[in-house]
């Protein structure tokens, strides 16, 4: 009950707050772009489909209005957190933004079509968000670093002949990456706490 009333809504809201935080010369809070809303909606659909989220356990006719209101809050905050988690993971501009968006969309649709179970979907989310985080906050951040570094030099050598004009992003302070990491970790942790679909155990009787 504490989980449903406090832990889940507050952790999802924290993800919604931190997912848009960007720290550069000034602090900016970016609201989720429309495509992040679409991806967030797809992600919730996927969680319902695989049983990681059972909306019927949050809202149904046998629950009191107060319990149903609490369930609705969890669904709404989970959607907001999902949208902001994608907002944190997707680059802000240029070709990487387009590629990440299409890639994540195809991944979500593909995972949904494969109809995996709860554990596999949660593992898949860990891989998707982890990969996106590494690409955005380590690889792209290194390429966009005006001072440069060994990683930038290595990547430039690997991408010989490719112009960086469409790849480079606005450089953020390192704190942005740490905040995004915390937000994504909190989001993934909160997903595991969602009420899952209860399966009836089948036992063989002889």
């Amino acid at each position: 009950m504490i989980r449903e009333a406090f832990i889940l809504p507050l952790s999802f809201l924290t993800v919604a707050l931190l997912g848009g935080l960007r720290i550069a010369d000034r602090v900016v809070l970016l609201p989720p772009p429309l495509f992040s809303l679409v991806l967030g909606f797809l992600l919730l659909g996927l969680l319902v489909r695989c049983g990681a989220l059972a909306p019927e356990r949050l809202m149904n006719g046998t629950r009191s209005p107060l319990q149903n209101a609490g369930g609705a809050v969890i669904l709404l905050t989970a959607f907001a957190a999902a949208a902001q988690a994608f907002n944190a993971a997707i680059p802000e501009s240029g070709l990487p933004r387009l590629l990440f968006s299409v890639f994540l969309f195809v991944l979500l649709v593909n995972t949904s079509a494969a109809a995996p179970d709860r554990v596999r979907v949660l593992r898949s989310m860990l891989v998707i968000f982890g990969s996106a985080f590494i690409l955005k906050f380590i690889v792209l951040a290194a390429l966009s670093d005006p001072a440069g570094g060994w990683l930038k030099r290595t990547l430039l050598a690997m991408l010989e002949g490719l112009t960086l004009g469409t790849l480079s992003q606005e450089p953020y302070r390192p704190a942005t990456g740490y905040v995004a990491f915390a937000a994504l970790a909190l989001f993934l942790g909160s997903l595991t706490l969602l009420p899952a679909r209860q399966t009836t155990a089948l036992t063989r009787t002889s």
Binding site: L10, L13, R26, L66, V73
Partner: protein
């Protein structure tokens, strides 16, 4: 009996937290001082440091604009006082004004300050009674700053060297 109470409390906390997040995204505060100042301004509890404001005004009238802005910033740390932001914008105008050309960077900062002043003023209306100023309202100052940045044929009028700073 305990469960409904906890659930109600949970809903209230979640609603307050969600409202706070929406407020943060709308106001985009840059510092903790701005955040707390904006919150106290929203309930009418925000006050500027009058001593620092008086210092800023004295320096402004002595044409020490950079120093005046430091004092005004000290007076209005949260950038929530329309009058102080108006004077900051005016200091950018006077410092950036030139007989031949204006300093676009300073005028742009002046525009940002007057926008903050208009946002903080009740109904967006600012009127300052100060005999030292020729532009006595936020609208006049904003229009003057915008005209200073704009590029048009009047920029090449040689008679503009005879204009006066307001």
């Amino acid at each position: 009996m305990r469960e409904p109470l906890l659930r109600t409390l949970g809903l209230a906390v979640a609603a307050a937290y969600a409202l706070f997040i929406v407020w943060l995204y709308v106001r985009q505060p840059q510092t903790v001082a701005e955040m707390t100042g904006a919150m106290s301004a929203s309930i009418g509890a925000y006050h500027v440091d009058e001593l620092a404001f008086a210092d800023g005004l004295r320096l402004f009238r002595a044409n020490q604009f950079e120093a005046s802005r430091l004092a005004f910033d000290r007076a209005d740390r949260a950038h929530q006082d329309a009058r102080t932001q108006f004077y900051i914008a005016y200091s950018y105008y006077r410092e950036g004004w030139g007989r031949v050309y204006n300093d676009d960077v300073l005028f742009q900062r002046g525009l940002e300050a007057i926008d903050r002043a208009i946002a903080a003023a009740p109904n967006g209306r600012i009127a300052v009674e100060d005999a030292d100023l020729q532009l006595k309202s936020g609208d006049e100052l904003k229009a003057e700053l915008q005209a200073g940045i704009r590029r048009d044929a009047s920029d090449f009028n040689p008679l503009k060297v005879f204009r006066q700073r307001k």
